[in-house]
Point group: C2
Chain length 159, copies 2
DNA sequence: TGCCTATTATTGGTATTGGAATTAAAAATG
DNA sequence: CATTTTTAATTCCAATACCAATAATAGGCA
């Protein structure tokens, strides 16, 4: 039986866990890239377009919680690979309508779920009680971070 | 009072929480950069050098869980800003010994803790019971991810 | 000692990410 | 209807981040 941990130890270990979890997700994306030829963001974007129908670039960016300027590059590479197409929106000529090509659909049918899917499968395999507990913990953590974000004006001087 | 959630809902929300937490940490780094002139990785590297004494580039990279080639760039920028110096190692001429300059130490004394510090403060403010629960949940999550990582050879065909 | 291997730092190339500025088009306002 | 404002997509720039390849040095072994 492991010795009792101090609060400080628990915190340190939790931090490391969080880092490892984030890194595990990144590594998973890299593995997919190695073996599948699509980077994590590319697969993710293709996934969104395949499952949520045609989307404008802005909507796609919103779904991925990324900036438009970031997604432009991802879309460029998917277009270059012939997996999606940019169609003009007949109703609003500022917009582009992004959709998978047949080839993109084909890839999507065979591809693993995007990074999040990995985690998803892990969570599915957990007992409900555990998921409940995790959920509550994450919410707490988020509240703490959120609260800090609002009320922590930087206390240090600028040069 | 909110309606009871299904397991699936709990999972979805947990995923989103995780993403938001990661994003909050990234945003914090960006805030520090805006107001302090050092990016997250730069502050982190300076912090490690300031607290762990002179380190070789490899050791610094190991501490940050980054590749050496990534850290070279971060070190370049810190050197360019005059916050650290590269000294030759008298015992092994392959190595460089990285250490803060007086100016680097000065910045470090006034700077907020690196990104992780933000989270750290949040955790410190939580009750021990909550931290215990979070710790346990994260460990479980990590186990699930780790297990999957090992036994999930990619099941999809390569083109 | 001299050759072979391993280690250290670096460079080069590609991808991701956000912010700032630009262009084009739609919407709102007078 | 003309002007202004807002919105959508894009381009450009800097910083991460990885991998692969290289140069220089150290260490091991015949």
């Amino acid at each position: 039986m492991p010795a009792a941990r101090t609060k400080s130890q628990l915190i340190q270990e939790s931090m490391q866990s969080l880092r490892r979890i984030v890194k595990a997700l990144e590594d998973y994306s890299r593995d997919v890239e190695q073996q599948f030829g699509l980077t994590g963001p590319q697969l993710w974007a293709l996934w969104e377009l395949g499952h949520e129908g045609p989307l404008s670039l802005k909507d796609l960016a919103a779904r991925m919680h990324l900036e438009s300027s970031t997604v432009v590059g991802v879309v460029d590479r998917l277009v270059a690979k012939g997996l999606i197409v940019r169609n003009p929106d007949p109703l609003d000529r500022r917009k582009v309508s992004l959709a998978p090509t047949p080839k993109g659909d084909q890839i999507l049918a065979a591809a693993p779920p995007p990074a999040q899917g990995h985690l998803l499968q892990g969570l599915e395999s957990m007992h409900r009680k555990r998921v409940e507990s995790l959920h509550e913990s994450l919410q707490t953590l988020e509240q703490v971070l959120g609260a800090r974000k609002l009320k922590a004006p930087f206390f240090f001087a600028k040069e």
